[in-house]
């Protein structure tokens, strides 16, 4: 079954790449550039997975994560960042209920396998 994914990243080339990578994995993808737009989209329709950049203009990724989990607790949220591995951010994201963490510094193959792994684990939980 195809996953419906919302990509939240303010850098268009990054969002577009995620779009193409995920479409190749048979996902239905929508992308937005801010946390505010993400919340608007999530209010309007249900997504299976949200790929959420931590560094966003306006409300931060962490805040957006909190709101998304309040709005639609069943949505699987995976955090993405260009900062690489960060204990504090991971701890905070987990506290707010994210399913996993993807660094843009990982090889593409690892990013996609992590995405599949987190999505599957979240689905199994439900």
């Amino acid at each position: 079954m195809a996953n419906k994914v919302l990509v939240v990243d303010d850098e268009a080339p990054v969002a577009e790449l995620f779009n193409d990578l995920l479409v190749k994995e048979n996902c239905i993808v929508k992308s937005v550039g801010t946390g505010e737009d993400a919340l608007k989209a999530i209010k309007e329709e249900d997504f299976d997975v949200v790929l959420l950049d931590i560094k966003l203009p306006g409300i931060s990724g962490l805040e957006a994560l909190k709101y998304i989990k309040d709005l639609k607790p069943n949505t699987t949220v995976i955090m993405i960042t260009g900062f690489g591995y960060d204990e504090e951010l991971i701890a905070k994201s987990k506290e707010y209920g994210c399913a996993g963490y993807i660094g843009k510094n990982m090889p593409i193959s690892q990013i996609m396998s992590s995405f599949k792994l987190f999505t599957k684990a979240a689905k199994d939980k439900k």
Partner: protein
């Protein structure tokens, strides 16, 4: 008695009465013949009560404190017996019981046949002067106390031959030399020899020219250790204004320099960290897009051979940048652990020289390192850089807790069939119970220049290695950190 004489005597009497000094005339038997208003007011008696009585009774009648007048009595007796004047100071009580300091002037008076007729007592109240003098003495004492409590200052002087003529206020503490070992020694004992040969003549010349000269330099302690000071040199002049030597005031800058060094270090690290994290983010995004796009294209079929190899080159080089950024990120502690088989003894040995010789040069003299390594310590699976960081943090803490010197003991051993233990203990200042509660909290620090991240990072790293870190400490005795890490069993190692 002629009228004229009467007028004259009255005039003299009025002068005597208006004088602000005590005036008393006593005969050779000690009886009071003449007194003036000042003494009458002071002892609170009328003239009629005084005249004809023995002076001693008159003075001590209100307050029975004859001891107060022993000095006066001795001096009056002396003047009568040896027929000589006496000048001295002694205390007396007024009718209110307040003590006054009187400067006495006792003059023997002789009759026409040159026999002693009596003595004239002239007394000036100098209480105010005494009090002022006392307050000056107080200021002197206070200044001395202030100077002796400011330990980082030393005051010493040399004569024109370059020999130490004064060695006071804080000098013993700062230099470690006792006064009697240093006085009249050449000043080269306190300054280093090169300075005395090359720098000091210049300094003294500048001081001569400008009256005072200030510079940052180094002085030498008794144990040979040099320490940074701000040195202020002034001319020492005699009352005629001739140069007789030079006064040196040295302010110990050791602590200040240490602090500046620490602040510099932490600021540098923070700045590097921020820079690297910022760059990493900016680079990771485009590199991610480049390699992602290359890989997407690579998956499209059909693909000509040359296009494929071009795309692979793009992908490989993008990957290279990605790895490079990853290595930079290891500085900012934001890297996932890269586990490898490690000998903890080696990891510690690699850290130590770096620490002692590059990171903490000003501490390295005082602290002795004792190593007790288990030579058969089993290997662990861990990230070398992260564990190095743990040890650097713990060693720096230990060194900083022992700024007066001490022992850093590092012990490694196999604890049981699962864990190895690394024990790092210092003999430093220790940690209070209150601070122990927050010791691993991020941003908790007791250091002025601390970031409060060191131990929280250690904690996270050890936790990430499935180990534990524990702390025991006693104020004034020292601190012990015990790290437990799971080791790799032989079978697994062989199976790898």
């Amino acid at each position: 008695m002629s009228k004229q004489r009467q007028i004259k005597e009255n005039f003299i009497a009025s002068i005597i009465d208006s004088a602000d000094s005590i005036m008393v005339y006593i005969d050779s038997a000690g009886l009071v013949i003449l007194s003036n208003k000042k003494i009458e007011e002071m002892i609170g008696s009328s003239r009629s009560e005084i005249l004809g009585k023995h002076w001693f009774d008159v003075f001590s009648q209100k307050f029975d404190k004859p001891m107060k007048y022993q000095m006066l009595k001795a001096m009056i007796d002396d003047s009568m017996k040896y027929r000589r004047p006496n000048n001295f100071q002694s205390a007396m009580l007024d009718c209110q019981g307040s003590e006054h300091f009187i400067s006495w002037n006792i003059t023997p008076i002789f009759n026409e046949s040159k026999n002693l007729d009596g003595v004239f007592l002239l007394g000036n109240d100098v209480t105010l002067f005494k009090e002022r003098e006392a307050s000056f003495k107080n200021i002197d004492d206070t200044l001395k106390n202030i100077f002796s409590s400011i330990k980082e200052y030393a005051l010493y002087a040399i004569n024109l031959d370059g020999n130490i003529t004064y060695y006071g206020m804080g000098s013993e503490f700062l230099f470690g030399w006792p006064k009697d070992k240093i006085i009249f020694k050449p000043v080269s004992v306190l300054h280093n020899y090169d300075d005395v040969a090359y720098k000091l003549p210049f300094i003294l010349e500048q001081t001569r020219k400008h009256g005072q000269y200030e510079l940052e330099t180094f002085l030498i302690k008794k144990d040979g250790q040099s320490f940074p000071v701000i040195l202020t040199v002034s001319q020492l002049l005699d009352t005629g204004g001739n140069l007789t030597g030079f006064i040196f005031m040295a302010k110990d800058m050791t602590e200040r320099k240490k602090m500046e060094y620490q602040i510099f270090q932490s600021e540098k690290l923070a700045a590097v960290g921020q820079l690297v994290a910022g760059i990493a983010h900016e680079i990771n995004n485009p590199v991610f897009v480049i390699s992602g796009r290359a890989q997407l294209l690579l998956s499209k079929k059909p693909l000509s051979k040359s296009l494929k190899s071009d795309l692979q080159a793009i992908n490989n080089q993008a990957d290279r940048i990605r790895k490079l950024v990853d290595r930079f990120l290891s500085f900012t502690r934001k890297m996932p652990p890269k586990p490898e088989l490690l000998d903890i003894n080696k990891v510690i040995n690699n850290v130590l020289p770096f620490l002692v010789y590059h990171k903490l040069p000003e501490y390295s003299h005082h602290v002795k390192i004792k190593k007790s390594f288990d030579k058969k310590l089993p290997h662990i699976l861990g990230d070398q850089h992260q564990l190095q960081e743990v040890f650097i943090n713990l060693f720096i803490n230990a060194y900083q807790a022992m700024h007066k010197g001490g022992f850093l003991t590092i012990k490694t051993e196999k604890l049981d069939d699962q864990f190895i233990g690394i024990c790092i203990s210092d003999t430093g200042s220790g940690i209070s119970e209150q601070n122990m509660k927050n010791i691993f909290m991020p941003f908790f620090t007791t250091k002025r220049a601390g970031t409060g991240l060191g131990l929280s990072i250690c904690y996270n790293i050890i936790k990430g290695h499935n180990g534990t870190i524990d702390i025991e400490s006693e104020l004034g005795k020292g601190t012990v950190f015990t790290i437990k890490l799971p080791f790799v069993k032989k079978e697994r190692k062989n199976g790898k």
